[in-house]
C-alpha cells in the first residue's frame, strides 16, 4: 500500500512547489556548507591566531622577565667583579660602600637591600644601611650554606619575608634573595663570603601584573618543582581560597597545551626562563577566544535563516514565473482531455512552453482531422468493400442459369430461352448499376423480379411469387442487392422441400418517413438459433448456391448507407414460414443519387 501512496504524493505536488522546494533545499544546503566551512575555518584560524598571539605574548613577557633577572645578575656581577673582588675591605670599606650605594641607587626600584657577608656571618657592608638582627646567625641558614657550597652559581631563592635584617616595627618586606659566593680580601687574607641581593618582590609583581595576556588570560611564574613564585592570586591560593593547576605544570615542557581544569577548558603556554629553571605559564580560558558565545551562535543561526529567507522569496518568485505558463498550458490540456478539441491552447511563457502550446494545438487539430479522416476512410473502406462485394458476379448462379439456357435451346424451347437470357441480362445489368450502391426501388424490384423469374424456371415452378409495391414508393431510394439475397435465402432454405406450394411475396410500402420492404415465404422456417446465425455469419456456408452476399452483409450495408436505426429484422416460425422486414428511410432516389456522385 505504501508504494502506491508515495507515487501518489509526488504525483499530486505541482511543478511550482517541487521547483521551490528543490531550490530552497539546495540553497539551504549551500548556505549550511558555506557557513560550516567558513565557521570551521574562521574558528580554527581564530584559535590558531590567538594561540600564536598567546605564545608571542608569553615570549615577550619571557624576554622581560629574562631581562629583569639578567639585569639583577649583572648587578651581582658588577658588584662582585667591579667592586668587591679587588678591594681590600679592611681599608677601603667606605669606597666599597659608596660604590655599592651607586649601584644600588641605579637599581632602587628592584632592589631592597644589598649586603656583603663574611664566611663567619659578619655584615661587612650593607646598602641601604642595615644591621643584622640581634642574635641572627646567618651561617646556620640553609641558603648561606648552599651559596658557599656552590660558588660557581648564582642562587635565586623562593619569595620570602626578609628576616635577617632589623626592620622597623610595622614593616615586612617580601623579597627574592639572589646570592653568590665571593672572594673577600681583608688585609692579607682572602676568604669566602656571600654577596646577597634582596630583590624587591614588588618589582617582579609590577612587571608581571602589567604584562597583559589578553583574551581574559593571565600568567604566573613557578619554579621547576611547581611551587608558585608569582601568581595574580598567590595570596588566595596559599590561603586555600583558590586553586591552580601547578602539579601538572611540573611536567610540562615548553610549548602549547590544552587542559581541562575545574571543569573549564583552557589553553596553556609554557616557556622556561633562562638560568633559573623557572617556568612562565600563560593561561587562556577557552571561552575567551572561541566563537561559542550563545549570542554568536544565535547570530549565525539568524544569518543562515535570513539568507534562506531571501533565497526562498526569490525562488518562490522564479518558480512562479517559470511554472505559471505551464499551469496555463495544463489547464488547456485538461480542457482538451475533456474532449473539447476546439479549445484555444494557451500560448505564452518561455519559447519552449510556447512551442509546446503550439504543438499541442496543432496536434489537437490534427487529431481532430485525423479522427474525421479515419471515420471517413473507415466508411469509404467499408463502402468499397461492399462495392467490391457487390460487383462480384455470382458464378454459380451464372452457369446454372446458362445451363438452363443451353437445355432450353437444345430442347427447342426458344421462347423460354429468350426470356431467361433477357432476364439474366437485366439482372446483371441492375446488379452492376454502373457501380452505384443506391438505386430506385423500381430498379431493385426489377432486379428481384428477374431473379425470381429465372429461379422459378430453374426450379420448375416449385413456387410462385408476387411482388406488390405502391406506385409512390417506386421512385424512392433503395440499396442495391438488398432484396435478392433475402429472396435467395427464402428459395434455398424455405422452398427446397415445398412441392409447388411455395409462395414468396415481396411487398414494398411507405409508412410515413420510412420505407418498408417485406419478403414473406411459407417455407420451412428457421429456429431462433438459425435466425441468429444468419445475422452474424459472413457467408452463409450451409448452401453454396447463394450469391455470396449474406443477410448480415445486407443488414450492415443498410445501416452503413442509411444509418444505424435502419436495417432488417427476421421473424420465423419453423414449418410455418419466414418474414423478413427491411426498414429504410423514405428518401427520393434523386436526392441520394446526388450525394453519391460526390465521393
Amino acid at each position: 500500500m505504501a508504494k502506491t501512496a508515495k507515487p501518489d504524493f509526488f504525483q499530486k505536488t505541482s511543478i511550482r512547489y517541487t521547483i521551490f522546494v528543490y531550490f530552497t533545499v539546495s540553497a539551504l544546503v549551500m548556505i549550511l556548507l558555506i557557513g560550516v566551512s567558513l565557521y570551521g575555518r574562521l574558528s580554527g584560524q581564530l584559535t590558531a591566531t590567538i594561540r600564536e598571539e598567546n605564545q608571542a605574548a608569553i615570549s615577550r613577557i619571557n624576554l622581560s622577565v629574562d631581562s629583569y633577572l639578567r639585569t639583577l645578575m649583572k648587578l651581582s656581577d658588577s658588584l662582585y667583579y667591579g667592586v668587591i673582588k679587588n678591594a681590600d675591605l679592611s681599608e677601603e670599606a667606605d669606597t666599597v660602600n659608596s660604590e655599592i650605594t651607586l649601584l644600588y641607587d641605579n637599581n632602587k626600584d628592584s632592589v631592597a637591600n644589598i649586603a656583603l657577608l663574611s664566611k663567619k656571618g659578619e655584615l661587612l657592608s650593607a646598602v641601604p644601611a642595615a644591621r643584622l638582627k640581634t642574635g641572627m646567625d646567618v651561617t646556620g641558614e640553609q641558603w648561606f650554606k648552599d651559596t658557599l657550597n656552590r660558588p660557581e652559581n648564582l642562587h635565586f631563592s623562593m619569595p620570602h619575608v626578609q628576616y635577617i635584617f632589623d626592620n622597623s616595627e610595622n614593616q615586612y618586606r617580601w623579597v627574592i634573595s639572589l646570592s653568590r659566593a665571593v672572594e673577600i680580601t681583608q688585609g692579607t687574607s682572602t676568604d669566602q663570603g656571600v654577596l646577597l641581593i634582596d630583590i624587591a618582590y614588588g618589582s617582579l609583581q609590577q612587571l608581571l601584573d602589567n604584562a597583559a595576556m589578553g583574551n581574559q588570560g593571565y600568567l604566573y611564574l613557578a619554579n621547576s618543582s611547581g611551587e608558585l613564585i608569582y601568581h595574580p592570586k598567590i595570596q588566595l591560593i596559599d590561603a586555600g581560597l583558590e586553586e591552580e593547576n601547578t602539579p601538572a605544570v611540573q611536567n610540562y615542557r615548553d610549548g602549547n597545551y590544552q587542559e581541562i581544569y575545574q571543569g573549564k577548558q583552557r589553553d596553556v603556554v609554557v616557556k622556561s626562563v633562562g638560568y633559573t629553571g623557572w617556568k612562565l605559564v600563560g593561561v587562556t580560558p577557552r571561552q575567551g577566544f572561541s566563537l561559542n558565545n550563545l549570542k554568536t551562535r544565535l547570530f549565525m543561526v539568524f544569518v543562515i535563516a535570513f539568507f534562506l529567507f531571501l533565497l526562498a522569496l526569490i525562488n518562490s518568485y522564479i518558480s512562479s514565473r517559470i511554472t505559471a505558463p505551464i499551469e496555463e498550458l495544463e489547464k488547456s490540456v485538461n480542457a482538451l482531455e475533456e474532449g473539447a478539441l476546439d479549445t484555444q491552447v494557451y500560448l505564452g511563457g518561455s519559447y519552449e512552453i510556447q512551442h509546446l502550446g503550439r504543438s499541442i494545438g496543432d496536434m489537437a487539430k490534427r487529431i481532430q482531422t485525423l479522427m474525421e479522416d479515419i471515420v471517413a476512410e473507415h466508411e469509404s473502406k467499408r463502402k468499397s468493400e461492399f462495392d467490391t462485394l457487390q460487383s462480384q458476379i455470382n458464378p454459380h448462379f451464372l452457369y446454372n442459369t446458362l445451363d438452363i439456357i443451353v437445355w432450353m435451346i437444345e430442347n427447342e424451347k426458344k421462347q423460354d430461352a429468350v426470356k431467361v437470357v433477357t432476364a439474366l441480362a437485366r439482372f446483371f445489368r441492375i446488379s452492376l448499376s454502373r457501380g452505384k450502391s443506391i438505386i430506385p426501388v423500381k430498379d431493385e424490384l426489377e432486379h428481384v423480379r428477374n431473379y425470381l423469374m429465372i429461379q422459378q424456371m430453374r426450379f420448375k415452378n416449385k413456387f410462385t411469387y408476387q411482388i406488390q409495391a405502391d406506385e409512390q414508393v417506386l421512385s424512392l431510394a433503395s440499396l442495391k442487392l438488398m432484396l435478392q439475397p433475402l429472396v435467395e435465402n427464402a428459395i434455398y432454405h424455405g422452398m427446397e422441400f415445398m412441392d409447388g406450394d411455395g409462395e414468396i411475396v415481396v411487398k414494398v410500402c411507405r409508412q410515413q418517413e420510412s420505407l418498408l420492404f417485406m419478403i414473406q415465404d411459407n417455407g420451412l422456417g428457421m429456429t431462433k438459433e438459425q435466425v441468429q446465425g444468419l445475422l452474424t455469419e459472413k457467408n452463409h456456408s450451409s448452401s453454396r448456391r447463394g450469391s455470396g452476399i449474406g443477410v448480415k452483409n445486407v443488414n450492415e450495408r443498410i445501416r452503413l448507407y442509411f444509418g444505424e436505426e435502419y436495417g432488417l429484422s427476421i421473424q420465423s416460425e419453423p414449418d410455418e414460414g419466414t418474414v423478413v422486414k427491411i426498414c429504410l428511410p423514405a428518401v427520393p432516389f434523386d436526392e441520394l443519387a446526388e450525394g453519391e456522385e460526390k465521393p
Binding site: 644601611a129 640581634t134 622597623s168 614593616q171 614588588g202
Partner: protein
Amino acid sequence: MKRKQKAVLWLLVWICAAILPAGCTGAKKEEEKRSIRIGVSLYRGDDTFINNIRSELENCAKEYEQENGVKVTLDIQDAKGSQNTQNNQVERFISLGCDVMCINPVDRTAASAMIDKAMAAEIPVVFFNRQPVEEDMNRWDQIYYVGAVARESAVLQGSIVVEQYQKDPKSLDLNEDGVVSYVLLEGESSHQDSLIRTEWSIRTLKDGGVPIEKITGGIANWERSQASALMEQWLEQYPDTIELVVCNNDDMALGAIDALERAQVQGINLVGIDATIPGLEAVRAGKLLGTVSSDKEQYAGAIFSIAAAKALGQAAPGELSLEEGKYYWSPQKIVVQP
C-alpha cells in the same frame, strides 16, 4: 482658533509646571549631599610621621561626621614607596567616584601624571608633606598643598641646639675640645626637605655660634632601621667622638637612639623634626634633646577641611588663609624636655 490657542497655552503651562520642580530638586540635591568620599594615598605607610597624620585625618573625619551629619568615607591606601602603585591607586579612586583626593606623592617629580588624571576627572587634589614642583601646582586651580616650611623646621631645629649650647655648652661639647662633633642623618636624597633641612639646620647652628665639626653623614631614607644601622657603624668607627646627632626626622633619631641603647652609650645629644608620638615620648624620657612639632591636629585638620570643602563643591575655607590660594603652611614650634 481660540480653542486651539487655549489648548496650546495650557500645554505650555503644564510643561513648565513639570519642569520647575525638577529643576528645584536638582538644585536642592546639591545642597543636601549626604556623603563624601575622600581618597588618600600615602607614600609609605610605615613612616611614623605620615602614620600620625593618618590617625589625625581619621579623627578629623569622625568629628566632621558627628558635627555635620555628613558621612565621610575615607579610603586610605599605602603606596609602599612605589609611584606606580600610587598611580594605580589614583586611578582606582577616580573609578570609585571619589569627590576629592589627598595625595602624599612618592615621587614629587612625577606628580603631573596624577594631576592629569585628576583634571580629566575634575577631582580636586590636596597634596601634602611632599611638595610637587611649582609648575605642576600651577596647572589647575583645584590643586592644594599642605605642608610645613622646611626651612622653618630646620631653623627651629638648629635653634634647639643653639639654645642648649648657650645654656650649657658642656652638655654638648662632651669632651670639651671646644668643638661639637656631629654626625648627620639625612632623609631621601630626592626629597626637597632633606636638602633644605640639612642645609638650614647646620647654618642655623653656625649662625648661632655653635662651633660644629662634621664627622660624617649618611642617608637613612627617613627610616629608623637604617638610621640604627648607620649609627651602629659610626659608633664603632668613631668611638667616643660623636657628640651630636642631627637628624632630618624623628624616626631616624629614634633609630640612632636604638643604636646608642644597644651599644649602651650615654650622653650623646640628638635632635629630630616631626614630633611624632614616639618622638615626643623620647623627648619626655630625655633621650631626645628636642624636636620640631607641626601641630598634627592642625596639619591634618587643614588637609581635611580643604578636602571636605572641595568635596562638597565649596571654596576652600577662608580661615586657613592659603598662600596663593593653594598653599597651607603648618605652623611649627620647638618641643624640648620641660
